[in-house]
């Protein structure tokens, strides 16, 4: 009538939970782990002292990342043995290990992407230093992008040459005959291709006296 006599294991499988039997960690294990922890603590202090000693005695500059890497590795090892033995994750349901691992993964994403941003400020700037390229990237010509952009700015040949080979249409329409009324000089723009104009394009504004080109090599119209 009662189910008192039923052993745990077979009754509760449907819940997805198993009887773990409450592992009792031995005293020897606990003491060993403590000893290891104390040893690693002294090791991490020792490593730092050694680092300082080496830097002073041999007059070398040890990069920061060495210090960080050594410290974090030792701390990671200590954490693993605390988690596995003191917190008994080794003897526990794998679900709890998954919880811990996913947490660490989340922290890694947080740290990784934030450092990716704040560590890469200004990385793109040197690519933006050259002229803004007109008519194509110039990639595939083997030239650095800044150089090919300068050539294109001067000659304006690349795009036109290509089209001249493959053009199937008639002569290019001047843009005004396509119905567009422009307030600014067109400088040879056509309906098929616009040619940007240097200088002030809005009426009523004037160029600031001292400024001709800013550091990016672009004119004041940019």
């Amino acid at each position: 009538m009662t189910s008192q006599a039923q052993p745990h294991a077979e009754h509760f499988d449907a819940h997805g939970h198993k009887d773990h039997g409450h592992t009792i960690v031995s005293v020897a294990t606990l003491r060993t782990v403590l000893a290891l922890l104390l040893f690693f603590t002294l090791l991490t202090v020792g490593a730092t002292l050694v680092e300082v000693w080496i830097a002073d005695t041999f007059n070398v500059l040890i990069p920061q990342w060495v210090n960080v890497f050594v410290a974090l590795s030792i701390a990671a090892v200590k954490t693993v043995i605390v988690v596995m033995f003191f917190m008994q994750l080794k003897y526990d349901s794998p679900l709890n290990t998954m919880i811990f691992v996913f947490t660490l993964l989340t922290v890694c994403f947080f740290l990784g992407f934030t450092v990716l941003d704040l560590g890469n400020r200004g990385t793109i700037d040197r690519f933006k230093e050259g002229h803004i390229l007109r008519g194509g990237t110039g990639l595939g010509t083997g030239m650095p992008i800044t150089q090919s952009s300068k050539i294109a700015a001067v000659t304006n040949q690349t795009y036109d040459e290509h089209l001249a080979h493959h053009a199937h249409h008639g002569p290019r329409l001047p843009i005004t005959e396509a119905g567009y009324v422009s307030k600014v000089p067109l400088a040879g723009s056509s309906a098929q291709r616009s040619k940007p104009v240097q200088g002030i394009t809005l009426e009523g504004l004037s160029v600031p006296a001292a400024q001709t080109e800013d550091e990016h090599g672009e004119g004041p119209a940019h």
């Binding site: 009792i24 730092t48 526990d92």
Partner: protein, 235 residues
Amino acid sequence: MATIDLGKHGAHGSAPVNDDRPYHERYQAAHHFVDREHEFDAVKMGVWLFLSTEVLLFSGMFVAYAIFRMMYPDAFLSGSAHLDYRWGLLNTVVLLLSSYTVAAAVRHAQTGNQKWLQINIILTFIAGLIFLTIKGVFEYYKKYSEGLLPGKFYSYPYAENVPYEPLWWGIYWGATGIHASHVIVGMGLFAWLYVRSRKRHFGPGHYNAVEGVGLYWHIVDIVWIFLFPMLYLIH
């Protein structure tokens, strides 16, 4: 549709009139659990989820630390030089020992050794107290009197003109302050555990609370395991 015998669901955690077994033997799991084993597993999982929130809370401080150490290594170097690593080392050893005593306390609860369970709880509490004393008296007070305070309160008279050093102090005080507040909460939990262990609440069949508080304390210890080298051992 099958039905399940309601035997195990009958009791609601209260003791019948003439059962004078100790609490941990007559403890019945809450009615929505099948039995104590089920409840123990669920509680443990719940504690691990809570610990993951604690880890993520501290991770914010670690990310801030990482960013600013990356940006201003000199400020961190000179700031860390003000910290005496020996106090940090002592605190680390104290916390590691307390981790041991708490794991031992869980073990004693599992074997039903009431006397040593209580002793270990007290030892852990004392370890927390020592940690806070060292922190408060030998570190915080000294920094406070020298003016090595975070942000706008920074007023160290012998400023070495290392730019952004108050930022380092903000990270230091913030990280150790939040950690210390968790130590205080932990000590409160151990006091609660001590009171309950005097009433013989814990034994081989029921020691959920000891396990849970123990896990919390280990996380507090792990955070310090990382804070110690990251704050005290920068070179």
